[in-house]
Assembly symmetry: C2
Homo-oligomer: 352 residues x 2
DNA sequence: CTGAAAGCGCTAACAT
DNA sequence: ATGTTAGCGCTTTCAG
């Protein structure tokens, strides 16, 4: 095995080639001021000629930046999604938005799974922070709502972005308007003539669950419809909880003719309940879901759904974190990105 | 902004706490010999007490290992998959297998997109190598079959693994038995009574495309069936190419009653052609696909498919690369991992 | 079995 | 506007 310890071409080689000092090369590659255009030119030429690319490790060790953004996802949920092979593409959309945005700025995104529920969250995260020293951290739901995590990051003075977490507090809040999305979904059903629109909530562990419920309430009230508790099914994002909630909603004395489910899995459960009960979708029961994961388009019928801008949110998160390290002032408002209601075949006029 | 340059707890602190030299701590955390159990004990205690975790950057800079495995995927194909939102979960399965295996060994997997077709592949890859100095590289199809890439890595003396690339040559070859899988898929159809089984190939850019075709041939011949050119549709993994190929196969004077498609997209195209022609699936046309991405289970009818062990292959790749750095001898045979034929509703008895 | 010294490639702080 | 110096936190030599 050859000596792989030494790097082929280092800043020294570039400095020699351009006939300047190390420092000047460093200044040029970091776009710092106080270098004459002519010297810049020469350095750039040397860089190109030698194919020089700075060592991430050396930059991190010598300087105050690591050029690393750490994305933290929930371990169990993520692994379950992967194992199921059902195409929950949260991670893919994050990579699409986050990795590409990082690359634009010469940063890299590193992906890590941590267990929100574990007593060792702190230790797990501290280990990642110590090892990597990332310039910023992206928290995905439900991590952004976990005070143990946000406080740890605050204490460590590491900038972080909370995706899908709407409360204010430390860190950038990046979300879509969940309440408004639920309102739009519900209004869509009301406009189709539905009077009894049920709602299936997500897990309380997620702040957005409450926001979505509020949106449904607002739309129902605005239309003068009943928004009493019996129309609210308590779910936790799992298929099974969707079955229970949907069953209750269609079993009411005055049953729901439409359901808004807080994610695709629970909407699929509603579809399943409809079939078991001999209810045609959308004729007898209309369904709208949240998330718009790939299954939404392949179910029978395909689901009308609220699409979350996951890629856009992650890209924005990366951007804010990178700018924060560059000393740009924080934005004065939370970033709220546009969602989309994708209308498919699971919603139709009320038959009742 | 506080001074974030200094690490909270370094090897020095551990050494002081344990009353030994830096070196001894280093030996202990790297499981090197020549440390008395008693001293090890003390060091471990100090590590635990202080919550010490070594800095990746410093390890890479000081030593000869980076504890980084770089996974290289095809840029266009990957981004298209993400944007389409159709749930191609190649990347997820890679992360499932690769990230978790890396984590087991204290390594990290970094994910990077490079454009196989670009004239700048070399530059793109060299940039990643210079910046990261990974201990190993995982090439996914079609990178493993691209000599520009494999030669570059060989020249740089960086261990690499080729996933889904069967030729021998430098680097670990990790694959499933594509030929045998095609044979099993074809035999499944023959056993159902099909005589005219068509085959839709993948792009020639992928070595596995040829292997799959050979498997089909072998099964057809073994059963005494016609394996002439007219039963072979040339595809390139795209939906459109699948439409053309499937159309030709069902339009033969003696039409195919079953089709093996080299991926799910082309199988969906065959499904589409069947519907347009008024052919019921599986009654009039049976279809088997390769890949078993999430769409395969959500199509109507769901597709019988060959499932690739992507997670297992990536895990194996990571394992071999890590062992290579640790000086373990290379395995004498390529790693061939088991595939699975998942039987769903798109295949049935021949009606002809 | 253990320790001391040197240096990895870069940036920060301080000259000039 | 540029160069010099001193580390960053670790591993690799080399001495004991």
């Amino acid at each position: 095995m050859p000596h792989t310890r030494r790097q082929a071409v280092t800043i020294k080689h570039v400095a020699a080639e351009a006939g300047v000092s190390l420092q000047t090369v460093s200044r040029v590659i970091n776009n710092e001021p106080n270098v004459r255009p002519q010297v810049q030119e020469r350095v750039h030429a040397a860089v190109a000629k030698l194919g020089y690319v700075p060592s991430l490790a050396a930059r991190r060790l010598g300087g105050s930046r690591s050029y690393l953004i750490l994305a933290l996802n929930d371990r169990d949920r993520t692994i379950d999604g992967w194992r199921s092979g059902e195409g929950t593409d949260w991670v893919d959309q994050m990579l699409l938005g986050g990795m590409l945005k990082c690359a634009e700025h010469g940063y890299r995104m590193i992906f890590e799974l941590v267990d929100t529920h574990s007593a060792h969250v702190e230790r797990e995260i501290m280990a990642a922070l110590s090892s990597l020293r990332p310039d910023g951290v992206i928290l995905t739901p439900p991590h952004g709502d976990n005070p143990t995590i946000t406080e740890l990051l605050t204490r460590q003075h590491i900038p972080f972005a909370r995706i899908g977490s709407v409360g204010d507090g430390a860190g950038f809040s990046i979300s879509m308007d969940d309440a408004h999305a639920a309102e739009v979904a519900t209004a869509h059903l009301i406009a189709l003539g539905h009077r009894r629109v049920g709602f299936i909530t997500g897990s309380d562990e997620y702040a957005l669950s409450g926001a979505r419920l509020e949106g449904w309430r607002k739309a129902m009230r605005a239309a003068g419809r009943d928004d009493s508790e019996e129309l609210i099914g308590r779910g936790d994002f799992t298929f099974d909880s969707g079955i229970a909630a949907a069953t209750a909603l269609v079993s009411l004395a005055d049953p729901a003719t439409a359901i808004v489910a807080s994610n695709d899995q629970m909407a699929l459960a509603a579809l399943h309940v409809a079939e078991a009960r001999g209810l045609a979708v959308p004729r007898d029961l209309s369904i709208v879901s949240f998330d718009n994961t790939p299954v939404a388009r392949f179910s029978v019928p395909p689901l009308t759904a609220i699409a979350q801008p996951i890629a856009a949110m992650t890209a924005r998160a990366a951007e804010l974190l990178i700018e924060a390290k560059q000393g740009k002032p924080d934005p004065d408002a939370p970033s709220v990105l546009p969602f989309e209601l994708v209308v498919r075949a699971s919603t139709g006029p009320c038959d009742g």
